[in-house]
Subunit: 265 residues, 2 copies
């Protein structure tokens, strides 16, 4: 089984990392569209165009199913991707919403994500289909803080405190009682420790990587488990050296080789 | 006279704003390559490819000279742009280095910029040609803080304090006595007030917008001054609505109309 994993950059490697643990018998193709990242501040039309060309590339390389590990692309372009390729496609917004439904007792959930994901209201729509009320908040400083490496840093703690207190205040005004927070961006699992310290006691924090791997195993099958060594190929549209260096942090293992690909950007 | 002004996004509008004041008799074409921004974290080859196609577009629309109002593109791609088009090209790195030479008495200057600009050492090279010693520092959180609108905000003050104290400490270790700080990114003039409060007393802060407009007037001529109303056309490769909304903040005037252009990204 060959699974294509797509993200605009490195964040999706947190999803690949969970997949490698959950489905070790599969082959993986990972594409980071690093020459055109970040998708988070771009329009639906542009994100759909980029994501569709990326999906076609992965299927051309042999992917038999696709995991869209980019929240922005899942939110803005899932239909465009499904039209562009003839293989099954699963996006992190659906898997995050499924996990929120399983977690929440109050049926009120919070979502933090990039500006484009929030403006699309894709999480709110997916949660509403599952009987959940949602408040979404754009947190555009969190990705650059992660990329600066300020993970356990007082500035990051203060930025999280500001974002989460604004979110809780909005919930209070709207009369909601949220008990679940969805991390709607693949960079955010790296801040999970800080986030869990910043949320009110008892609130569940859902990270899309683990729940996505679980659902991929259910949907596409966990594959043959006797193959101990999963194989992964890595592609990037920008500097392969930078991908190797930064990507290893997200994947939590060394990336030996990255292949450059020109998607015409 | 028709002047093309190019940036990866909105920041270059601070340069256009200074040009409109300094050379009101010219016509302007402004292109923000917003579908492929930010350039700041991308490789030289990718930035050169994007910048050359953007420059060709502006010359195709009639630009008789080009101002590269993007520090990253000026640092990484000025030669590629000059090869791509047959008109005179001026970049903000040169104009910033000229202003630093005019300002500094100690001949030691500091530069803050994006990661790609700093890694290129373009400011250090341009300053060295002018007899200046330079320490450069990447400040990747400042652009997202400006775009979040956290201009007069305690988190921004704290981030600036950390970046500038690291920079001053490095100068101390290297035995330099800097008296001039170059803002090597077109977003930073919006933080000029905060930055001037954070630097040691007596340090000159150089913002590229004003010094670039001055040098464009000297190099390309200030044009006929009897034409009171300058004309400007705006192009963007991503959402024109977002360009209108965000761009007005950088230009400090309303942008009525933005034309979408597809550069194949």
């Amino acid at each position: 089984m060959k699974i294509g994993v797509f993200d605009s950059g490195f964040g999706g490697l947190t999803v690949l990392r969970a997949l490698l643990e959950r489905i070790p018998g599969a082959d993986y193709l990972y594409l980071g569209d690093t020459a055109r990242l970040p998708y988070g501040a771009k329009s639906r039309a542009t994100v759909a165009r980029y994501a569709a060309s990326s999906a076609r590339f992965l299927v051309g390389e042999g992917a038999e199913s696709l995991v869209i590990a980019c929240n922005t692309a899942s939110a803005l372009a899932l239909d465009a991707i499904r039209e562009a390729v003839p293989v099954p496609v699963l996006g992190v917004v659906e898997t995050g919403a499924n996990a929120a439904r399983a977690s929440s007792r109050t049926r009120d959930v919070l979502v933090i994500a990039t500006a484009a994901t929030v403006e699309s209201h894709a999480y709110a729509a997916a949660c509403a289909e599952r009987g959940l009320q949602t408040i979404e908040k754009a947190c555009p400083l969190l990705v650059p803080l992660v990329e600066e490496g300020w993970i356990e840093h007082p500035v990051t703690a203060e930025v999280l405190r500001i974002y989460l207190s604004e979110l809780m205040e909005q919930a209070r005004i709207e009369g909601l009682h949220p008990d679940t927070l969805v991390l709607g961006c693949t960079h955010y699992p790296l801040l999970r420790g800080q986030i869990e310290r910043a949320v009110p006691a008892g609130m569940q924090v859902i990270d899309s990587a683990a729940v996505t791997a679980e659902q991929v195993a259910k949907t596409f099958g966990a594959g043959s488990l006797d193959e101990a060594q999963p194989r992964a190929r890595f592609f990037a549209t920008d500097s392969v050296a930078k991908f190797r260096a930064l990507g290893s942090r997200f994947l939590a293992r060394t990336i030996e080789r990255v292949e450059w690909v020109d998607l015409g950007g």
